[in-house]
């Protein structure tokens, strides 16, 4: 799983079977210092509560559809949770 920032929404009326009712958001993957890393992707919102501007974590590949009610939904990225805080460990030796 990785961190990402929700930067937009996607609405599609005509879509593949199984995608009905799935909310799509554009997310920008982040490194652990919350800086953008790589290109934005469209992800399904498995928590139904994420919105633009929010910090989230997401799963990719086969695990993405397992976050949704139907585990065979054809998606490749899904938001698995909304981040309240990333607590970085301080004073780690080495």
């Amino acid at each position: 799983m990785q961190l990402a920032r929700v930067i937009g929404t996607v609405v599609a009326t005509v879509k593949a079977e199984g995608l009905e009712g799935v909310k799509f958001l554009i997310i920008q993957p982040l490194d652990r210092h919350k800086q953008p890393q790589g290109d934005p992707v469209v992800a399904a919102d498995a928590v139904h509560m994420a919105g633009p501007g929010e910090l989230v974590y997401f799963v990719s590949a086969r695990e993405a559809s397992q976050a949704l009610p139907n585990i065979f939904t054809p998606v490749d990225h899904a938001i698995a949770g909304i981040v309240d805080a990333v607590e970085e460990t301080r004073g780690v030796p080495r």
Partner: protein, 97 residues
């Protein structure tokens, strides 16, 4: 499997039900010299690791779900062990003593 170092935790209230009551660890991945390679993973903790520890990570969904005892869960990365020692090319690169 991969070797990483625990550098933080993710606090989340609204999430997929499988993450309820589980710790999410931010882990820097390490290269063969034991140094962070610039990438990271958010992993589910299964062994009770602490801050700064070097850990063994599974980054494969079926194995991760098997360890968690779940057949369907949106989990791919889990921490499955704490590294005591690691050597590569004849040099000791991690020694937690």
């Amino acid at each position: 499997m991969k070797v990483g170092r625990v550098v933080g935790t993710v606090v989340s209230t609204i999430n997929a039900p499988v993450f309820d009551g589980r710790r999410l660890l931010v882990c820097d991945l390490l290269d063969a010299a034991g140094q962070p390679d610039g990438t990271y993973l958010i992993c589910v903790d299964t062994v009770g690791t602490g801050a700064g520890e070097t850990v063994l990570i599974i980054d494969e969904g079926n194995s991760a779900r098997q360890v968690l005892g779940m057949t369907t869960a949106p989990v791919r990365s889990i921490v499955v062990g704490v590294v005591d020692q690691m050597s590569a090319d004849g040099a000791l690169v991690v020694d937690e003593g």
